[in-house]
């Protein structure tokens, strides 16, 4: 199973000291010192990155779903966790976050 899709994987944002960001009306632009790249995140992706940056312990996909909705029942909504997984895969590609096996 891909590490990226495993529900047991815990995701960590690139250390916040390497990131700079600004938010306007829900859209986020973020600069990554490690890559020198600048990215535009929509409201959903921006919220995910914010949650990851807020914790040093790493978060599983299900944890993110709960954090974003405040509702444990939403974890069962496969489209939400699928959407989160897509964003996390993109974060991995962009160097904004990475997954670790527990």
């Amino acid at each position: 199973m891909s590490i990226l899709s495993g529900s047991e994987a815990r995701w960590h944002a690139t250390p916040s000291s390497a990131l700079a960001s600004r938010e306007w009306n829900g859209e986020v632009v973020v600069y990554n010192d490690r890559t020198g790249s600048t990215h535009l995140l929509d409201e959903f992706a921006g919220a995910i990155l914010r949650e990851l940056c807020a914790t040093g312990a790493g978060m599983a996909v299900d944890d993110l779903a709960v954090a974003l909705t405040g509702d444990a029942a939403s974890v069962a909504a496969s489209d939400l966790t699928a959407a989160i997984t897509v964003v996390l895969a993109e974060f991995d590609r962009l160097g904004l976050a990475r997954a670790e096996r527990p």
Binding site: A20, R22, N25, E27, V29, Y31, D33
Partner: protein, 304 residues
């Protein structure tokens, strides 16, 4: 002293000898050339610019010359030297003056990293700067040329320089580069404007330079705070239309127009973010009716 105060022979002697130390905004370029077309163009287009003394520090040392060897005579060429080195391949001799302008732009882009630089035209009204970032062919220089003949002040037609400390846009106020149909469009729009001889068959097509308005040159030391960032797009036949653009998307479009954004890393990000914070961002489509287009920007300025 300004260039116009030099006699023609005096100007030729300076250009052929120690160089003309020409001030354009914050930049002093020492220019040397014996090419008649360059001498003529400098005399006409830089008449009102300061000619600094020989002991004035020059940021760049630029020479346009005819190369030695057969290409001096056979299908003659001109080449540009910066600090004694040739950063570009030679061009036909007839392209000598545009080559000087392109070379001066290159010097600023390559070396003036004390500024955050964008590939954008920028004009000013009521103390506020309108930045027009866009790729070549988008119509930004045409718009810029039109605006500066209808009450807006020219800061630059090609490179927007943002001061890191203040966030203000610093003027260059050099001649405006026009291409192809824009040349005749501006001749009709601004009958009193002064144009260089059109140069044909360049990589950009036919090119001519329009002299910067005198008022813009006189005020070339006055910076302006950015207030609007407008991304123009020329679409033949279209009515002029201004549409809001989110600040985040405006930010990303500015990054694409960045000349040295990547050089500055996080500092560039922070500086640009501050600029975006204080600006309204828009997209602008127009079909070539300059009066219609300028009316849109005049209305924008009046609301500020």
């Amino acid at each position: 002293m300004i260039v116009a105060e030099l006699s023609r022979s005096g100007l030729e002697s300076r250009l052929a000898g120690p160089g003309l130390r020409l001030r354009t905004g914050p930049v002093v370029s020492r220019i040397q050339s014996r090419v008649p077309a360059v001498i003529e163009a400098v005399a006409i287009h830089y008449a009102e610019y300061a000619a600094e003394n020989d002991d004035c520090f020059a940021d760049f040392h630029v020479r346009v010359e005819r190369p030695l060897g057969p290409r001096r005579w056979f299908r003659p060429q001109a080449r540009l030297l910066v600090d004694g080195h040739a950063p570009f391949t030679p061009l036909p001799l007839g392209h000598a003056y545009p080559m000087l302008e392109w070379g001066l732009n290159w010097c600023i882009s390559a070396y003036c990293h004390q500024y955050l630089i964008f590939h954008a035209a920028v004009v000013e009204r009521f103390g506020r700067a309108l930045v027009l970032p866009a790729p070549p062919g988008s119509g930004k220089s045409t718009l810029c040329a039109g605006l500066v003949h209808r009450g807006w002040r020219l800061l630059s037609d090609e490179l927007t320089l943002v001061d890191f400390a203040t966030g203000d846009v610093v003027p260059l106020a050099r001649p405006v580069s026009l291409k192809n149909r824009s040349i005749d469009l501006l001749r009709a729009f601004a009958p009193t404007a002064v144009f260089s001889r059109p140069v044909h068959d360049t990589t950009k097509g036919t090119v001519a330079h329009m002299r910067a308005p005198s008022a813009s040159v006189r005020r070339a030391t006055e910076a302006a705070r950015p207030r609007w960032i407008v991304f123009p797009r020329y679409a033949p036949g279209s009515a002029a239309q201004l549409s809001p653009l989110s600040k985040a998307r405006g930010f990303m479009e500015m990054v694409k127009s960045g000349v040295n954004y990547s050089v500055h890393g996080r500092a560039g990000f922070e500086r640009l973010a501050l600029a975006i914070e204080s600006c309204d961002c828009h997209e602008f489509v127009y079909g070539g009716d300059l009066d219609e287009a300028i009316a849109v920007f005049d209305a924008l300025a009046a609301r500020a």
